[in-house]
Every structure is written in C-alpha cells, then in structure tokens.
C-alpha cells in the first residue's frame, strides 16, 4: 500500500510523462516546428501555418488520444476488478462490439463525422443496456453471469460486424477496417471525450477503497461494509460508458485497456486509489505516443494506432511479466 505522499509523487511523475508525450505529439510531423516555436504558438503567438497545424490538427488529435487512452485504461482496470479476472478488458462485455455494429452500419449508410459517432455511441449503449438488463436478471449479478452474457453479446456483435464487412462495397472496406482497428484521424473535437474521462474518474475515485475489497471477493467485501450489488452496478456503468465514449471517438483501439492496468499494477501495486488515476495517465500517455508514431513512422501514410499500441505494448508487457515470474499479472 503506497502512502498518500508516494502516491502523489508517482502521479506527478506520470503527469510529467504525459506532458512530454503531448510535447512530442505537437512537435512531430511533416511541418517542422521547433520547441521554442511551439511554446510561442501555445502562448498565443502570430497566426502562421505552423500555428494552424499545431492548434487545429495536432493538439486536438493528441488530446483525443490522451482522453481515449485514459478512458480505455480506466475501463479496463474497473472491468478487471468487477469480473475479478486479470484477462478482462473494456471490450470483453460487448461494448466495442455494439459500437462496431453501429459504426459499420453508419459507414454502410454513407455517414461520416457526427453521424458515424452517434451510430457508434448508440450501438455501444445498446450493447451496454442489453448486457446490463440480461445479466442483472433476477438481481443476483454474479460475475459468471455477467461475463457470459457479455461474451455472448460480443460474439453476436462480432458476427454482425463480419456480415457487414462481407456485404460492404470495396470502397468502404478500408474505412471500416481502420475503425475496427482503432484510428484517431477521424476523431472530431477532443473535448467531449476529455469531459467523459474526467467525469468517469471523478465517479470512480470515491469508491476506490471499496474496489480494493471487491477485487478480493464479494463476500468478504460485504462483511467489511461494502454494498456490493450497488457497487457492481455502478462500476459496470462507469466502465461501460467510459468504453463507449472512447470507441465512439476513435474506434476499437485494442490492447490499452487490457495491458495498461497490468503494467501499472506490476509497477506500483493493486491499490485502486493509485491504480485508477495512474492507469488513466499511463493509458493516455501511451496512446498519445503511439498515435504520434502511427502518423509519422511511414509518413505521409498513416497507420491505424490500434496496430501500434499492440506492437509497442506486447514486448513491454512480456518483459515485465518475465521479470516478475508472472505471479503478479
């Protein structure tokens, strides 16, 4: 258990890393901007091409990346506690599947931009309500029932996604694939996603110590004074809405939600009071960095960032896992 002072120190370090990652995202790209120039632009300097590129293109995209990464990592950490399963991720209960059905449906209908986002969010909400309603059922809310319901709904969504992919005209396939892999180039304003991130974290933090108990088992949590049923419902809703907000903005970016909470847990332990905010910062930082790479590595071509998060995350995770003998994950 970290002391409050150590927790704040760790969060301050992660915040510094997030700042560096943001700086790199603003500097990197085809239009060269120096660090001094960047500071002048951010301080509100003369309008110029560089200022336009930084403020209109790079900054919103970087902030979107941070918000999505933070949301996915938070949702992953919450799902892992909720299901008491280290393999849980934000997508395991079908939220991204529902969003995928919505998004691909929108692309088939020729929608883009806000229409696409609305369809994706609607799909995510549909899956959320379906799983919540079915798993809640008789009010028992068991982990197994929730997990099974979610996995089945996810499988159903996967089938619908496959169906739409096979029916879609060639010209739309690339957009669909990019959405499914996760791609920040299409995200609109970062502010709704950032607001969702702040809201989700503020809602989850008051329950952090109760989540510590829940991760150790529902029965013992109840005897220690946790209203388990209510807490589970709340955690599910926070995690699901966080996931829905993230996938609506950037598609189904994989890996962040599964691996970032584990990376953070391996580094600083499993106290949710520190794990939740640290996961948000680490997830946001990682996704921003990955997206910077995704749009520069083979510029002017862009990679879907979901591919890079996996390519970067897998070796780091395997290294940490081998170092700790795999016990902690």
């Amino acid at each position: 258990m970290p002391s409050p002072r150590r927790a704040l120190l760790i969060l301050a370090c992660l915040l510094g890393l997030a700042g560096l990652s943001l700086g790199a995202a603003l500097l990197a790209g085809s239009v060269a901007v120096g660090p001094g120039e960047l500071l002048a632009i951010l301080a509100g300097g003369e309008p110029s091409l560089a200022a336009e590129v930084v403020l209109q293109l790079r900054l919103p995209r970087a902030l979107s990346g941070f918000a999505c990464g933070g949301l996915l990592a938070l949702a992953g950490a919450l799902m892992q506690v909720l299901l008491r399963n280290p393999l849980a991720d934000p997508y395991v209960l079908g939220i991204s599947g529902g969003a995928g059905v919505g998004a691909l449906g929108a692309i088939l209908l020729g929608l883009s931009g806000l229409g696409l986002d609305l369809f994706a969010f609607g799909g995510a909400l549909g899956a959320l309500l379906l799983v919540f309603g079915l798993a809640h059922g008789d009010g028992s809310w068991t982990q197994t029932r929730l997990l099974l319901t979610g996995v089945i709904v996810a499988a159903g969504c996967g089938a619908l996604v496959a169906l739409m992919l096979s029916l879609a005209p060639e010209s739309q396939l690339r957009g669909m694939l990019f959405w499914l892999m996760g791609d920040l180039s299409q995200s609109l304003s970062p502010w709704p996603t950032l607001a969702a991130l702040v809201l989700a974290l503020l809602l989850a933090m008051p329950f952090a110590r109760e989540l510590n108990l829940l991760s150790r088992g529902a029965e013992s949590a109840r005897t220690l004074g946790v209203a388990v049923g209510r807490l589970r419902g709340l955690v599910y809703l926070i995690a699901a809405l966080a996931t829905a907000a993230a996938v609506t903005s950037a598609g189904a970016i994989g890996f962040i939600g599964l691996v970032v909470p584990h990376l953070v847990r391996l580094a600083i332990g499993n106290d949710q009071r520190l794990l939740l905010p640290a996961s948000v910062l680490a997830g946001g930082t990682l996704l921003m960095a990955a997206d910077t790479l995704a749009r520069t590595v083979i510029a002017p071509e862009q990679l879907p960032v979901g591919v890079l998060t996996a390519l970067l995350g897998v070796p780091v995770f395997l290294f940490l896992l081998s170092r700790t003998g795999g016990r902690s994950a």
Binding site: M1, P86, R216, G217, G225, R265, G269
Partner: protein, 255 residues
C-alpha cells in the same frame, strides 16, 4: 451483560432443505458458541444468515438489538466480523495490505490507513504468527498461512462479535490450538464468538454452548458438556463415536 447477537424464531432453508426453524438464540458478550453438524447440514448457511449476508427464510436476526438493515452495511461491519471459507486473490497483494482491509469500515471515504491502523494490523499478524511476512505476496503463501492471514484480517477489524466458518481449515494442530486460544482470549476480553468447528473435542474444550444442526430442520442448543455425548454425536454425524477423557480433556474417536 449485553446481548451481541440474537435470533428470534429464526428459520433458514436452502431450497427444500430445512437447516433450522423457530431457532431462538442469544449470544452475550464474552460467550463462545460452537456450531457442529455434518457436511451439507447448513452450518455455513446458518452462519451467513447470522452474519446478515443472506436473508432468513423466517424470523429475525438482531445485531445488538437492531436488524442488519437498520444498521446499514458499514455500521454492521464495525460490530460483526465474519470469516468465510473462500480464499483467493486474482491479483498480487501483500500480506500487510490484506490484513489492513479489516480497517475499511473504520475509515472514512477519503481517509487513508493511519499509522495506528497499520499497528493494529501488524499486531494481528504477530498474533497469528505471520510476523516477518508483511511484505510477502499473498499468492505465495501456503493454504494454512492464508487461513491465518484471513483470521488476522478479522482481528484487525476489531469487532465485538466474530462469526467464523471453519477457522481451523488447513491449519496444523499447533496452529489450531493457537487460533482457538486467540479466540478464547478475545472472548475473555468481552467479544462474542460463533464458530463452526469439525472436532467435537475442541468444541467441548472451547465452547460455552454448542448448537447441533442435524440437517433435517432439527437443532439442539445447550451447554457443551451436557450436549456433547457420544449418543447425540452419533446421531449428529451418523457414525458411532467413543468418548475418551484424559487430564480433564475430552476427545471423541470415531468407532
């Protein structure tokens, strides 16, 4: 003496199985009650009902004169502790962190564990013989060590009423007696103890009263030395037993 726990006309059923019906029970501060019965007779279910973890099929359970709903989960957690049978942490966590979870009901929403809380947890770990293992990962502990850690967590909760479901599982003989001595010490300090045990000899030694659960809805409640006869135990377990006495202690040997 104050009544820590009371059951009034309590009925507990598991599906078609009646565990008890019309059970009246009062547990005073300083008392130890041991529950005995066959596997599947419903001992754990009854204990969970007494702990407020499942609703009774009939009647009432009162914790210090009020039912659990009136207390609310947090206030109830400061009055009664419960040791369950299931262990398992899917995520890594240290021994000290685990013991400290017992402080949860005593802490406000934004409060962190204080030095005093850590001291209480460390003392409990010393009491169950886990000192020196504070920073060990729980997942590396043996079954017996985990069991003692769960007991230390219960002690850290510092409740006047403790309900324990098979606290001696996985424990060696020496640790079995050590745990029972810890509970007896708590009882002398005014705690009320209700525990499920498997060994009628240990029940004879540590219990003031025993509750026998026959599994057909019948129960017997009374002083340990009066109820723990070979005849009654033979009926309870469905197996003949012989009583052996040595140095003022009693053992029941399956024939």
């Amino acid at each position: 003496m104050s009544i820590l726990l009371a059951a009034r006309e309590l009925a507990v059923r598991i599906g078609p199985l009646g565990v008890c019906c019309g059970l009246d029970l009062e547990l005073q501060a300083g008392e130890t009650l041991v529950i005995l019965g066959k596997n599947g007779a419903g001992k754990s279910t009854l204990l969970a009902t007494l702990a407020g973890l499942r609703p009774p099929s009939g009647g009432q359970v009162l914790l210090q004169d009020r039912d659990y709903a009136a207390h609310g989960p947090r206030a109830a957690a400061r009055l009664r502790g419960w040791l369950g049978q299931h262990r398992g942490d899917p995520f890594a966590t240290t021994v000290l962190e685990t013991a400290l979870t017992g402080r949860h009901p005593h802490l406000g929403r934004w409060q962190w564990e204080s030095a005093a809380d850590v001291r209480i947890a460390r003392e409990a770990l010393v009491e169950v013989g886990l000192h020196g293992l504070e920073e060990r990962d729980v997942q590396t502990l043996s079954g017996g060590e985990r069991q003692r850690l769960a007991i230390a967590t219960l002690l850290t909760q510092q409740t006047p009423l403790m309900l324990l479901d098979e606290p001696l599982t996985h424990l060696d003989l020496n640790h079995q007696i050590a745990v029972l001595e810890i509970l007896a010490r708590r009882a002398r300090q005014g705690a009320g103890i209700v525990t499920v045990l498997h060994d009628p000899g240990l029940a004879w030694r540590y219990a003031g009263r025993v509750l026998l659960i026959y599994g057909d809805g019948h129960t017997d409640l009374g002083p340990a030395d009066a109820l723990l006869t070979p005849e009654r135990l033979a009926r309870l377990y469905g197996h003949p037993l012989a009583r052996v006495e040595q140095d003022g202690r009693v053992a029941f040997i399956p024939c």
